[in-house]
């Protein structure tokens, strides 16, 4: 697997897209910092970017890479390499190079700006870690979708739809059900609903750092426990790991049964 990872990674490191992605983040970081001149505010704007854009880019990139490297995959399939190694190797190649572009691209301007001497460093590190996680999750989901759909257009369509659903529609339904059932105790339900969407999960993880004051304003005992103690952070992190591992398991499973 590591050999495949290595070559996929080399391949991507030379692709123009990795640089576009990298430069995009670099630019974003610079613009945010030097237009705003306020680190905390920049971190908040960054959160929106990370929660929306990172999954989108991960999804598109993942699908694109899978379809573009189809022939390469076939070449590898005839080599004495385990099937799951091929796909997991490719997956890690893509997701790691994306995550690196994100971390380095955003990290550089902030380090240059002096993040290490600021108390926003914790928030910033959390943002980058969450961003890296989201990249891993959505690239994996994209791979699963691409593996299931041989038709490129369909695969792209489903992938974008998945992103749209998790980024916007899910929260809409979530909000409506909360308002509609407001007479019932809802804190367990809302925590569960949050855990089931990686975007919401990452958002809450960041909120736990940035907006804890507001979160603690709610009276529910379950919320209090979740937000007020480390339990929230631990549980959310575990769920993020799970959100990476489940699609990875699916990649393994589907790839061993698929015909090429």
């Amino acid at each position: 697997m590591f050999k495949i990872l290595k070559y996929s990674f080399y391949d991507l490191m030379r692709s123009r897209w990795s640089y576009v992605y990298f430069l995009f983040y670099l630019l974003l970081g610079l613009v945010l910092l030097f237009l705003n001149n306020d680190l905390s505010k920049a971190v908040i704007t960054l959160m929106n970017v990370i929660i929306i854009l990172v999954p989108l880019i991960g999804t598109i990139f993942g699908v694109m890479y899978y379809y573009n490297s189809k022939e390469f995959t076939e070449l590898l399939l005839a080599q004495p390499v385990k099937r799951s190694s091929i796909f997991l190797g490719q997956y890690f190649g893509v997701s790691l190079s994306l995550a690196m572009s994100l971390v380095i691209g955003l990290g550089m301007p902030f380090i240059f700006y002096g993040i290490f001497n600021s108390d926003a460093i914790g928030n910033f590190a959390l943002l980058l870690i969450t961003g890296a996680f989201l990249t891993m999750i959505f690239t994996a989901l994209a791979f699963v979708i691409a593996l299931v759909n041989d038709n490129k257009i369909k695969g792209f369509g489903y992938a974008i739809l998945l992103w749209l659903f998790l980024a916007v529609i899910y929260d809409g339904i979530f909000l409506m059900s909360l308002v509609f059932f407001e007479d019932y105790p809802l804190d367990r339900f809302s925590l569960a609903a949050t855990m089931l969407n990686p975007i919401d999960l990452s958002r809450v993880l960041i909120l736990l750092k940035m907006d804890i004051s507001a979160l603690l304003g709610y009276t529910g005992a379950v919320f209090q426990k979740f937000f007020g103690t480390n339990q929230g952070i631990i549980l959310s992190s575990l769920m993020l790991v799970l959100w990476v591992s489940i699609p990875l398991y699916l990649i393994r499973r589907i790839s061993t049964r698929k015909d090429f």
């Binding site: 916007v168 979530f174 909000l175 958002r203 960041i206 907006d211 004051s213 507001a214 603690l216 709610y218």
Partner: protein, 415 residues
């Protein structure tokens, strides 16, 4: 002209010296315990308590005395009741350490109580393991300065307040440090009180609690991590200046709670990381200016019947919600504040945004209605509905906006 005055003062000093005696209390002194020293002393005498531990309580001072502790001698009440009760004018208590005040459910035992007296000075005390700390009852013209009060309160019903003022007037409470009691400082029916440079933190209920007290001012205090923050209720003409309200977290916790407060001034305060910066209920004609609201859940929460309040030149930095209203009506004005989430522009470069800012978001209205929705804070979907509400307000007061939002924060660090 000057010489006679000097001589006069000298004369006065020597005269008083000759009259006032100094009584010493220690193991090897004439007086072995404080009680006998106080009883033997004449009005105007000074009782000096040397270093040591004195197991005494119920010390009643009924004549003008100065009681001074050297190197903080300890008075251990052994949980038997009140320690010092002052029932005379012109009493000074200085430099004692008082521990183990008795706890009772029927009587409010205090470490030091002042009853119906004037011109007292209570300073440099260290109070620990207490029920009530310093209890001023119908007292006037006194000072409570530089005391340290450290309680171990766990439950509200079995704990007392750090400094309590009840029917008092013209009192100065300065430089005290109060921790882990029920209410740090409590005022009821007390007017013309100055509360300054105190630190009140980790208290069970309120850092400062105000009821039916008028014409008071509190300045440059720090209130931190108190169960419910600071509550100012049913009072008029209050000045609150240069205080710091910090880290008051919890569902019923506020930096500052205003209830039925009228004609007051709130300026140059810092509200940082509170669940609610200021919670306002039924309060009118208050000027809020030059305050900083930073990283609060709600910077200002307005609940019903608040009229003619003016918010100007305040800075709102990165609060989850800037302003929240629970009704569609608004009679308060917001002008020339800095809002960090303002996204408008300033084409004519006059430092004021050309587009008005609407500090009340639709989402804050939704959260008021269904509190669980807070978990959707900063979601893209919420941003979208907030935006649409901003374009055409339906649920939030449509006249509530800052017509002249500042593009740069107001600098008012120097109080």
């Amino acid at each position: 002209m000057r010489l006679p005055v000097f001589i006069l003062i000298l004369l006065a000093l020597s005269f008083s010296n000759a009259k006032a005696e100094q009584l010493e209390v220690c193991n090897s002194c004439e007086y072995k315990n404080i009680k006998t020293a106080i009883e033997s002393a004449a009005a105007g005498d000074t009782v000096v308590i040397k270093k040591g531990t004195y197991r005494e309580f119920n010390l009643q001072i009924t004549k003008p005395l100065t009681i001074i502790g050297e190197d903080h001698p300890v008075i251990d009440g052994e949980d038997r009741g009140e320690i010092i009760t002052i029932e005379s004018d012109n009493v000074t208590i200085d430099g004692l350490k008082i521990i183990n005040v008795g706890t009772s459910y029927t009587t409010d035992y205090a470490a030091v109580r002042v009853v119906k007296s004037e011109n007292f000075l209570i300073q440099n005390l260290q109070l620990e393991k207490l029920f009530f700390g310093i209890y001023l009852e119908k007292a006037k013209k006194g000072k409570v300065i530089n005391n340290t009060i450290l309680g171990d309160a766990v439950e509200e019903y079995s704990s007392g307040n750090g400094i309590q003022l009840w029917y008092c007037k013209d009192i100065e409470v300065t430089g005290n440090k109060i921790q882990k009691v029920r209410d740090g400082i409590y005022l009821e029916f007390s007017d013309d009180i100055l509360i300054e440079d105190n630190l009140s933190k980790d208290n069970l209920r309120y850092g400062l609690h105000f009821m039916f007290s008028n014409n008071d001012s509190y300045e440059n205090n720090i209130f931190e991590n108190n169960g419910a923050g600071v509550a100012v209720m049913f009072s008029k003409f209050i000045t609150m200046k240069g205080n710091i309200f910090r880290k008051n977290w919890g569902p019923a916790s506020f930096g500052l709670l205003l209830k039925e407060i009228n004609d007051s001034e709130i300026s140059n305060n810092n509200f940082e990381e509170n669940t609610v910066g200021i919670n306002i209920e039924g309060s009118n004609r208050i000027n809020y200016n030059n305050n900083d609201f930073r990283n609060n859940g709600w910077a200002v929460k307005v609940r019903g019947a608040c009229y003619s309040n003016i918010f100007t030149k305040n800075n709102f930095f990165n609060n989850s919600f800037d302003i929240s209203y629970n009704s569609k009506l608004n009679d308060n004005s917001f002008d020339r504040n800095y809002w960090s989430s303002y996204t408008g522009y300033d084409l004519n470069k006059d430092g004021l945004g050309d587009v008005p800012y609407r500090p009340v978001k639709l989402f804050s209205y939704i959260v008021n209605r269904t509190p669980e929705t807070i978990i959707l804070l900063r979601s893209l979907f919420i941003d979208i509905i907030d935006f649409s509400e901003k374009v055409s307000p339906v649920f939030t007061p449509d006249n509530l906006m800052d017509q002249n939002p500042l593009l740069k924060p107001v600098s008012h660090d120097i109080n």
